[in-house]
């Protein structure tokens, strides 16, 4: 059995037409892999191809059998009126609110529509990171985050468990350099 959680070889993905690739990507347990590239390079499409919601035109993406995947999308679903709490969202993805770090725990009790954009983003990202997924895909997780929260997110990513892998897409190279074990650039 492969030692990788995910192996993409010669991957060309898109929607009606190819948007990204060909590229190779391997994610081993314990790795936090950053994907950097300019706007329109196809970073989000790459994540969607891995998640199975974009079309694969060529190449292959193999997963470890039984791999559980969580995807935090760039535009989170956030209706204007949202009476759910962060704890509700955490439980949805299988995270335990009681185990949240203090700065996140404080955000798990108000209604989600009372949180700022950055607070909401932190709750969502922590939830998927604290959930049971072995492969976590994060699409621009630093959107709306102020420097302090960004630093907190960086340390959260650094504490990834040994059996898990994370793919982080960002247009912020500095953040990826700090948070990831390696960075892949796509043109």
């Amino acid at each position: 059995m492969s030692r990788y959680l995910l192996e993409c070889e010669g991957l060309v993905a898109g929607y009606d037409q190819p948007v990204v690739g060909p590229l190779d990507l391997r994610i081993a347990p314990g790795e936090v892999v950053g994907v950097f590239g300019p706007n329109g390079a196809g970073k989000s499409t790459l994540l969607r191809a891995i998640a199975g919601t974009a079309r694969i035109f060529a190449g292959v993406c193999r997963r470890r059998p039984g791999l559980r995947v969580a995807l935090q999308r760039q535009q989170a679903v956030r209706p204007e009126e949202l009476p759910l709490t962060g704890a509700d969202i955490a439980r949805v993805v299988g995270a335990n609110p009681a185990k949240a770090p203090p700065e996140v725990k404080a955000l798990l009790h108000p209604r989600l529509d009372r949180l700022s954009g950055g607070q909401f983003q932190l709750v969502q990202v922590w939830s998927v990171l604290a959930g049971p997924a072995e492969l976590v895909l994060l699409d621009e997780p630093t959107n709306n985050l102020d420097p302090a929260v960004k630093a907190r997110l960086t340390s959260l990513l650094r504490t990834v468990g040994e059996g898990r892998g994370i793919v982080v897409i960002s247009h912020e190279h500095d953040f990826l350099d700090m948070a990831c074990t390696r960075v892949v650039e796509i043109a």
């Binding site: 998640a51 199975g52 995947v69 969580a70 995807l71 935090q72 679903v77 009476p83 209604r111």
Partner: protein, 265 residues
């Protein structure tokens, strides 16, 4: 004398039928509102009414005919696999047009159509009550399985595709549950009162409550309270039940407006 009427055994079965259906309709309404599909209530209610009128003309039993036609609408909606309210608006218009057209061309159909539009809770029998109780039990049994899947679908829409899991099962089960409850409630309290039960309590609960469980509890309790007031009010004032329930529910809107005004200050 009016108070005697309130405890008349004749009204016992209708009372318990509404007591079961009102909070159940509101409970499902919270999920419809979360999914931004609140117009489904009006659409399925109107389609169920059309089914009931058609059934009357064809000499079929009213409730099964209403349920069957509404179930067909739910399956069509499921096959269309589209979120939002567009298709519900179409169902609503088709149901309304069909109801009135069939009713206009049949004396029996007209009577049933009128009853479905106004509500006929006082004429519901044990069959209605048992059907309502069964749907309540089914909903409570299915909710622990449905709830996490519906929430995942709403807030992490890629979850099922990303994990190779089928999403159609829980969506179809939910749609069918909604259809059955809305159709049965329509045949008991009428189209508009059903819409009011599904729409207004969740609308208020979304503004008042914090957390998903409290939203569901608030919603069910508001519907229950409104139902009890309407049932007593309609009998004591000798008024048709459907419009009274609709107006009682509509008057609860002040709770939402008050909360929003408080939040604004």
């Amino acid at each position: 004398m009016a108070l005697d009427t309130l405890v008349d055994p004749l009204f016992r079965v209708p009372f318990f039928t509404g007591l079961v259906l009102a909070p159940l309709a509101a409970l499902l309404g919270t999920w419809l509102r979360l999914r931004e599909e609140w117009l489904a209530a009006m659409a399925y209610a109107q389609v169920a009414a059309a089914g009931g009128v058609l059934g009357a003309v064809l000499n079929l039993a009213l409730v099964p005919a209403a349920l069957a036609i509404a179930a067909v609408a739910a399956v069509v909606k499921g096959l269309a696999a589209r979120a939002g309210n567009d298709h519900f608006a179409l169902f609503m218009l088709l149901g309304w047009g069909l109801t009135l057209l069939v009713a206009a061309n049949s004396a029996h159909g007209e009577m049933v159509g009128r009853a479905l539009l106004d509500g006929q809770l006082y004429f519901t029998g044990p069959g209605h009550l048992w059907a309502g109780a069964t749907l309540l039990a089914l909903t409570l049994a299915l909710l622990p399985w449905l709830a996490p899947r519906l929430l995942l679908s709403r807030f992490f829409p890629e979850h099922f595709a990303a994990n190779g899991l089928p999403a159609w099962r829980h969506k179809l089960v939910f749609d069918l549950l909604v259809v059955m409850v809305v159709a049965l409630t329509t045949t008991a309290v009428g189209v508009m009162a059903t819409f009011a039960l599904v729409f207004i309590p969740p609308w208020i609960a979304f503004a008042l409550a914090r957390g998903w469980r409290p939203v569901m509890v608030w919603s069910a309790l508001l519907a229950l309270g409104a139902y009890l007031i309407a049932f007593a009010g309609a009998i004591l004032l000798d008024q048709p039940f459907g419009p009274v329930l609709t107006l009682v529910l509509a008057s609860l809107a002040v709770l939402r407006l008050a909360r929003r005004a408080r939040n604004a200050t």
